[in-house]
Symmetry: C2
Subunit: 109 residues, 2 copies
DNA sequence: TCATTGTTTTGCTATTTGGCAAAATACGAA
DNA sequence: TTCGTATTTTGCCAAATAGCAAAACAATGA
């Protein structure tokens, strides 16, 4: 049952890198080929390829070949919902930070 | 808006380690002091302390002092739901692996 | 005050990770 | 088959991370 923790940690780890998160968010909208993903990430194609295989290895993505192109898409349905929950959480947090900043400004007057 | 990606990646990264995931899953049940968390993780207390501050830094946990004890608890409400979604996903995946294994066994006969 | 208990910080390795470039592989077209 | 395009793999280096041990910090009680 420790395997379960390891597998979940692997998933989080896979999502825990800005480039890979950019990839995943793009794929929430639908599948893309590597050639389309590379300019989105702005890294060397070999680097992007490694990120993609890491995400696939964790089970977050799946891929299918068509012609010379490889198309990646989301396999894990849990992800989009969690991402929007995080956006909401961060939004609220940002708001409260702004509020804190504002009240500190007032104190400083 | 790149800050948003960075912040989310930081959250995933924080959750992407077996020890930290054990901590978070334990805290889904309710708050615990460091002294209770340490034996759960089975690492040096200094190591556990670092894991805890990393999780707090990412916004996943919060803490409060009472006496000499520090109590950590979950701050990010999104996490438990996502974890159970992952368990479900991994469960189904495991099931299909078992099925694959079984059908391979049959082929081997 | 001083000693004790609970926690965090610092200092130090060993290991892992992310990046690019170059080589290798896969596939379709000429 | 040979060429060209798309992708992955390998080799290498720099930076980040996890771990323990020791030192530093509270907060409480004697």
């Amino acid at each position: 049952m420790n395997k379960n923790i390891e597998a979940k940690a692997k998933i989080f780890k896979a999502l825990g890198h800005p480039s890979r998160l950019v990839i995943v968010e793009a794929l929430c909208e639908g599948e893309l080929c590597v050639c389309d993903i590379v300019p989105l990430v702005g890294r060397d194609i070999s680097t992007v390829s490694k990120h993609l295989s890491l995400l696939k290895e964790a089970g977050v993505l799946k891929h299918s070949k068509r012609g010379t192109n490889v198309y990646y898409s989301l396999q894990m349905e849990c992800v989009p919902g969690f991402l929007s929950c995080l956006n909401n959480f961060l939004g609220k947090n940002l708001e409260s930070q702004v509020k804190d900043y504002a009240s500190n400004s007032i104190k400083r007057l």
